[in-house]
């Protein structure tokens, strides 16, 4: 560390001298950069003098001017979305015209690989997935996770339920931990933001976790859902330690780096998108249809009641579609996106606003979001620039009641007991009591309220100082400070007149949850670039520090026994409260050296990060995370610009202990108004340290067929050591678990990506893409006996960690009965532009990966499954004979994630419809999750009763059913 800083300061001194010396020998070159197809000017293109650090950026009319050394020069011209071009400029020539061709596979993109540095995609030594705004916007998505589904090789992105407003898990390259946190680090414009999942404590009504402590069955939303997908310019995903090492002990689950849109130089550009659409239930489980009362009494013993209900001629039973009636809402959904961007040489701006309402598929469900953003770039003098990003978001969701319960309140725990011959629909506004279970879900959804209201403010400022900007070297200091603050308020009202409410003897329940979190970020770094006079080499040194302070504070109040019509918690007789604080501080120091040599064909990178954290046992110790990477491009292998890049990278990251892993504490309770302190269940380790992931990846990227075919192959092997193991203690110790570092887990896999431009012409552009991903994990060393990390006990299927076995194996009564890891995942997408028409679609295929389907078990258990006579009875008989297998089900799926059909109006029609100020207008039909093909026997194969989980995802207990959406939208540019 000290040595690197010394080198840099030395460079600073040298740079000041050479910069002054170079000034005397310069000449001016100016020119225009334009699109090769349309000759429209390309704004924001970078024009650099090869072999020097001199560069300039084009303005709105594509113009640039720069100072170059005397003599012949070569200009390198690059712009986002275009292929690079080198242009020789003879000594006497001072003006130049450059035309650029489109870059369909984004090979020219610059990928942020360090905290402060970036590498061009063509040199990139790791498989970093980049998703651009074009692919993000193919079909409107409620949240960013769904917009990323199927677009990243190596990422398994699955929603936890169909409830509106988010709640999804991004899992990069398979299992990385058993007991640690599972979410990747989310970085927005350099700012580490919170992706916390804060439960709404609907557990107060569902009693899913009996005992009333914090439950992870609340179906929470992880807060990345707040981001506005329309604001995102690009998403870069660092999938493993080899790429993410520079983020140290926060990055074992990978890093999702989001860059928001910024203004480009030029006159103000307005963009408006207006969408109208609808959400409809995509699929849901139904119950058994009973022929007559004779069949009904085989299940329901109250023959008098059965006789009364099965009253059709011949004692036939009616069939009321209560379940269908519940998921039958399809109100209008709408979205309005507006943005203005533009700027001058000194100031660039991007302003956007969003108004969105997604109506849910059941009464009193839905999701709304409003967001405004202002991104500003300001040049301050000759060497200073300031970039500011600010955003305020309000999101509001109503998610009904779903998932596991122990109170007969969650619809899919009520329907298994409720025969189809009872009519639960209201008569004259009166909801009939359900004679077969504690609640009537139709009444529940009509009267129950579950609201989540989130206000969030994100702000980041980056001050950049070009301390030295010379021909041979440059030195840049950057400081980014930012905050991410949100307040989440949950209001749950379960009024006393609900059928189930009087059951606990305290009719009416109100839950008021307030959670806030403040993330404070400081990122300071220095980047030194050195190009020796001999040329052919570029050395970039970066050093810096990153400090993140997190302060989550969650309070929750539950009031029971409430007066009808009252909504305040103090209008209850039984009030209980909880508060949880989880402060955390992290500091990382990093240094990195990148050498680009051999005519930019060879890239070598070395780096190290040193991290300390308040989560560790030893808070003063710096843990080191090194990385190294290399890539080499074989150019002109087949002529015509074809090239092959071979790459390899190795790196380490850490995964911090969970909050509380270092402490052994007591619990508290009250008896007779006196506070008591009694033993807690968990034994902490005062020396606990982060898990360590070591990843080696290698592969190649090829551009063939004159740039029309792009293919990429990556294999990775990651090994996790010092795992946070939480073995069970013998219960007679009075404690259940302790934590320590140990064990070894391996995960290896392969990622393939390919893109092919089938046609490229002014009239027809057609690109198809495919990705493939498969991985396998194995527990290599486990210094504790095999243990279970999720599920409801062996007989109902449980995830069991066992040496020598897959980390995601599922065991049942009869032994291993499944594995949650898919055999493989593939996606196919196609984007076709023909004249004024654009068609795009994305298919997402998951093959294999099992789900423990307890909803199916419940229907069978109560003799009420839709397929009882053909299959359900057999499943249940097998289960009764000691088999768990019938309920550990293959959750393969093929989904049409996105479909869009768009028409660009002729300019005459645009003028006629919208007036002359509108330059461009498009009409688009788009849909999400329109087609689903699966053999899975539940609501949806994407399911997790326990929310985001390292291992124990894929447990289906009464989930909210999935929906599909359709939108018709108009896009206007002016």
């Amino acid at each position: 560390m000290g040595k690197h800083l010394g080198v840099m300061l030395l460079a600073l001194g040298l740079g000041a001298g050479t910069a002054a010396a170079a000034a005397a020998q310069q000449r001016s070159i100016s020119g225009r950069v334009a699109s090769a197809v349309s000759d429209e000017p390309v704004a924001g293109a970078t024009v650099a003098v090869v072999g020097t650090a001199i560069s300039a950026v084009t303005d709105a009319s594509g113009q640039f001017t720069l100072s170059a050394p005397e003599g012949a020069a070569t200009l390198l011209v690059r712009a986002i979305g275009y292929k690079r071009r080198t242009v020789p400029v003879p000594a006497g020539q001072n003006t130049v015209a450059v035309s650029l061709e489109q870059d369909i596979f984004n090979l020219e993109a610059v990928v942020v690989t360090g905290q402060a540095t970036a590498v061009e995609q063509r040199n990139l030594p790791q498989a970093v997935s980049v998703v651009t705004s074009q692919t993000l916007e193919r079909a409107p998505a409620s949240t960013i996770e769904s917009a990323l589904q199927g677009k990243i090789a190596g990422a398994l992105i699955q929603s936890n339920s169909g409830a509106p407003g988010g709640g999804a898990q991004i899992n990069l390259r398979g299992v990385s931990t058993i007991n640690g946190s599972v979410d990747p680090l989310i970085v927005v414009d350099g700012l580490v933001i919170s992706n916390a999942s804060i439960g709404n404590n609907i557990n107060a009504i569902t009693a899913a976790a009996a005992g009333g402590n914090a439950s992870n069955q609340d179906n929470p939303v992880n807060r990345i859902a707040d981001l506005n997908p329309a604001d995102i310019d690009r998403v870069e995903v660092l999938k493993g330690a080899s790429a993410a090492a520079i983020y140290g002990s926060q990055a074992s689950n990978g890093v999702v780096m989001i860059t928001t849109r910024r203004g480009t130089t030029g006159a103000p550009k307005f963009h408006l998108t207006q969408r109208f659409g609808q959400f409809r239930v995509a699929h849901f489980m139904r119950s058994r249809v009973f022929a007559d009362s004779a069949e009904a009494v085989t299940v329901y013993t109250d023959s008098a009641l059965v006789g009364q209900l099965c009253n059709l001629p011949g004692d036939a039973c009616p069939n009321f579609d209560n379940i269908g009636a519940l998921w039958n809402q399809h109100d209008l959904s709408s979205e309005t996106d507006a943005s203005i961007s533009g700027g001058t040489d000194q100031t660039r701006y991007f302003l956007s606003g969003l108004l969105k309402h997604d109506a849910g598929i059941a009464p009193h469900t839905g999701y709304s979001k409003q967001a405004i953003r202002a991104n500003l770039d300001q040049v301050l003098g000759t060497r200073w620039t300031l970039a500011v990003s600010t955003q305020v978001i309000h999101s509001y969701s109503e998610r009904g009641i779903s998932n596991n319960d122990n109170s007969g309140t969650s619809p899919y725990l009520v329907f298994p007991l409720t025969p189809s011959f009872v009519d639960l629909r209201p008569v004259n506004g009166v909801y009939p009591d359900n004679p077969f279970e504690r609640s009537n879900p139709i009444q529940t959804y009509a009267l129950f309220r579950n609201k989540e209201d989130v206000w969030r403010a994100l702000g980041a400022g980056t001050l950049r100082w070009e301390a030295v900007s010379g021909e041979r070297q440059s030195l840049r200091f950057t400081a980014t400070g930012g905050l991410d603050y949100f307040e989440q308020r949950n209001d749950i009202l379960s009024p006393p007149n609900l059928e189930f409410e009087p059951n606990d003897g305290q009719p009416g329940t109100i839950v008021l949850g307030k959670a806030s979190n403040l993330n404070l970020n400081l990122l300071v770094n220095a980047v030194h670039t050195y190009i020796p006079a001999s040329g052919g080499l570029q050395a970039t040194t970066a050093v810096g520090l990153q400090y993140v302070d997190r302060a989550p504070n969650t309070t929750n109040i539950v009031g029971r026994n409430v007066l009808l019509g009252q909504t305040n918690v103090d209008k209850a007789t039984n009030i209980s409260l909880t508060q949880v604080l989880q402060p955390q501080r992290d500091l990382g120091l990093f240094a990195q050296e990148e050498i680009l040599a051999m005519d930019q064909r060879l890239l070598l990178t070395l780096g190290v990060r040193a991290d300390r954290s308040s989560r560790n046992g030893d808070v003063n110790k710096y843990n080191l995370y090194p990385k190294a990477a290399a890539s080499y491009r074989f150019t002109d292998i087949g002529g015509g610009g074809d090239e092959l890049k071979v790459r390899a990278a190795v790196g380490q990251t850490g995964l911090q202990p969970a909050f509380g892993h270092k402490w052994t504490v007591n619990n508290t309770g009250v008896v007779s108004g006196i506070l008591g302190s009694f033993t807690g269940t968990f034994v902490g380790d005062s020396g606990i340290k982060p898990e360590r992931q070591t990843e080696i990846e290698g592969g190649f990227d090829a551009t063939l067929m004159d740039g029309r075919l792009n293919a990429s192959v990556t294999v990775f092997n990651k090994t996790i050591t010092d795992m946070l193991l939480i073995p069970s203690l013998a219960l007679s110790t009075g404690r259940t678990q302790r934590v320590f570092n140990g064990g070894k887990l391996r995960n290896r896999g392969v990622e393939l990506g390919a893109g092919y431009a089938v046609a490229q012409s002014p009239e027809l552009n057609w690109i198809i893409r495919a990705t493939f991903f498969a991985n396998r994990s194995k527990v290599l060393e486990l210094p504790v006996p095999a243990f279970q990390v999720g599920g409801f006990g062996t007989s109902l299927g449980a995830f069991q960690i066992e040496e020598g076995k897959s980390a995601t194996q599922i065991v049942g009564s009869e032994g291993v009965v499944g594995d949650a890891t898919p055999d493989f995942q593939m996606s196919f997408s196609t984007d076709l532009d023909y004249k004024r028409w654009t068609v795009g679609m994305l298919w997402d295929w998951k093959k294999g990966g099992d789900v423990i389907n307890l909803t199916d078990l419940l229907f069978d258990l109560f003799g009420n499954s839709e397929d009882w006579s053909t299959a359900g009875q057999q499943r249940f008989t097998d289960f009764g004979n000691g088999l768990t297998q019938p309920y550990v089900q293959d959750a393969s799926y093929l989904k049409l994630r996105e479909l869009s059909l768009s028409y660009r109006l002729p300019s005459s029609a645009v003028a006629q419809l919208f007036g002359s100020r509108v330059k461009d207008a498009r009409i688009t039909f788009s849909g999400r999750n329109l087609i689903r093909i699966t053999d899975f026997h539940g609501n949806d194969p994407e399911v997790s009763n326990f929310g985001n989980q390292a291992i124990a995802r894929n447990i289906d207990v009464a989930p909210f059913p999935p929906s599909r959406s359709f939108f018709l939208s108009v896009d206007l540019d002016f």
């Binding site: 400081a479 003897g505 039984n574 509380g660 009250v670 007679s732 009075g734 006990g793």
Partner: protein, 458 residues
């Protein structure tokens, strides 16, 4: 100042200024040496919280296995599939593997206090003894609860050791009962040397206008002796015989047993509940007409009529009719609901006078004293049930008297967690009525939890 220096200064400030040493803001640490009075109070109350944590769940599960109760829970079939049909899954913590951990957690809480009480300079020697006597009595109660659920397997007893040490070895059931018995005697000696007041408030479970006062060491000693009486009667029935039954009578005499009528049959020590913040309500309190917990219909089938007509008073006080509800395949059903715990703050007995009288009757009957045994049984019949006295009861065989005693105990201690254990230790599990022959079983014991066994494997 140059920008470079400014940057370095910012960096230095960040590195230097942050305090990374955060302590848990949410929970207190375990009790340490030389505790304060407030910490001792918190520890004593903590023992009561921990001891209470399994009471309701035990009464429900033991009630289901002993065919006093059902739970028709649409959300969890295991109240039927495990508890009634079997087999019990020792891998889960809620059913087969239950009624073990909460008790040992209470024992850990108790030992945490016992391990430091000698260092409490704020207490007088008598107060330390009083604290020990209370804690040891509650420890013995916790062990007894484990033994009531786990009849065949032995249990670990010597558990006061660091969690990183190898787990305590299993001892036989007989050794465990003797250990519990001796622990109650040690506690009694400490209570006897404990002066006149505890240095903490035991709360409403041990002092209540309607349920008696056991809030000082001499009074709490009576609770200790009551538990001793129960332990010795159990031991007597499990093979120890006359020696233990005699010890039981001695202990019961020193307890708060009362047949004079000066105190009620409900006199005793209780787990108490409330709706106050931080407290919990009685988990067995439900709406009797719609709640998930129901009454086994055999209780109506076998109920006796009062001489004045009408059902046994205990039946009418604890059971109410409700709409027929069914569950399971083949279906089980009931149209009886519980009003045993009629309010959210209804207490659950730890041990009470009515049980003591029936324990004395059992000991006397076993010792061949049918007259006092019959007197106690008849006293309960009349006093608690409003039933007629059985004239020739003392003349019946020992076994017949025991049958009558168990019939009365069933209604006297209904939904209080006794019947299954009583029937089992007296070899009468076969008499428990099951609904679905061929489908249902009556479990002889809960299995040792897998989570107790697995960590012991090499």
């Amino acid at each position: 100042m140059t920008p470079t220096r400014l940057w370095l200064l910012v960096a230095a400030l960040v590195v230097g200024a942050c305090d990374f040493d955060i302590t848990d803001p949410n929970n207190p640490p375990p009790i340490g040496n030389d505790p304060s009075l407030a910490q001792i109070q918190a520890a004593a109350t903590g023992i009561l919280v921990a001891a209470r944590s399994d009471a309701a769940d035990w009464n429900l599960d033991a009630g289901i296995i002993g065919r006093e109760a059902y739970r028709f829970d649409g959300s969890d079939p295991r109240f039927i599939s495990e508890l009634l049909e079997g087999p019990l899954d020792n891998g889960g913590g809620a059913f087969g593997g239950d009624h073990w951990f909460e008790e040992y957690a209470a024992i850990r809480t108790i030992n945490d206090l016992l391990n430091v009480i000698g260092t409490a300079t704020v207490l007088s020697p008598a107060e330390r003894n009083a604290t020990r006597g209370f804690a040891e009595t509650m420890e013995a109660y916790a062990y007894l609860m484990v033994l009531m659920g786990h009849a065949r397997d032995s249990i670990p007893a010597d558990v006061n050791r660091p969690v990183t040490d190898p787990p305590a070895p299993f001892v036989t059931q007989d050794s465990a009962y003797r250990f519990v018995s001796a622990l109650l005697d040690t506690a009694a000696a400490h209570l006897a040397a404990g002066g006149t007041a505890f240095p903490f408030n035991l709360g409403g479970g041990f002092k209540d206008p309607e349920r008696g006062d056991f809030s000082t060491p001499p009074l709490f000693l009576k609770v200790n002796r009551a538990l001793k009486g129960r332990v010795e009667v159990y031991r007597g029935s499990l093979g120890c015989g006359a020696t233990c039954y005699t010890a039981a009578l001695t202990a019961l005499t020193a307890s708060f047993i009362d047949t004079s009528g000066t105190v009620t049959l409900n006199d005793g020590a209780y787990h108490v509940y409330s709706t106050r913040p931080g407290d919990i309500v009685n988990p067995l309190f439900q709406n009797p007409l719609t709640g998930e917990n129901l009454v086994h219909r055999s209780l109506r089938d076998s109920v006796e009529q009062k001489p004045t007509g009408g059902n046994d008073d205990r039946y009418t006080a604890k059971i109410v009719s409700r709409p027929l509800t069914s569950a399971g395949v083949p279906p089980l059903s009931s149209d009886l609901g519980w009003i045993r715990y009629p309010t959210a703050d209804a207490p659950i007995p730890i041990i009470r006078n009515e049980e003591l009288i029936l324990l004395r009757a059992e000991a006397n009957n076993a010792l061949g004293n049918p007259v006092p045994a019959a007197n106690d049984i008849n006293y309960i019949r009349a006093k608690s049930g409003g039933l007629s006295v059985i004239g020739g009861l003392a003349a019946l065989t020992q076994n017949q008297i025991l049958d009558e005693l168990l019939r009365q105990k069933k209604y006297s201690l209904l939904y209080e967690g006794h019947r299954w254990n009583d029937m089992r230790r007296l070899g009468r599990l076969g008499q428990i009525i099951i609904d679905r022959p061929g489908t249902d079983v009556v479990h002889a014991t809960l299995p040792t939890p897998l989570a107790e066994v697995l960590p012991r494997l090499p």
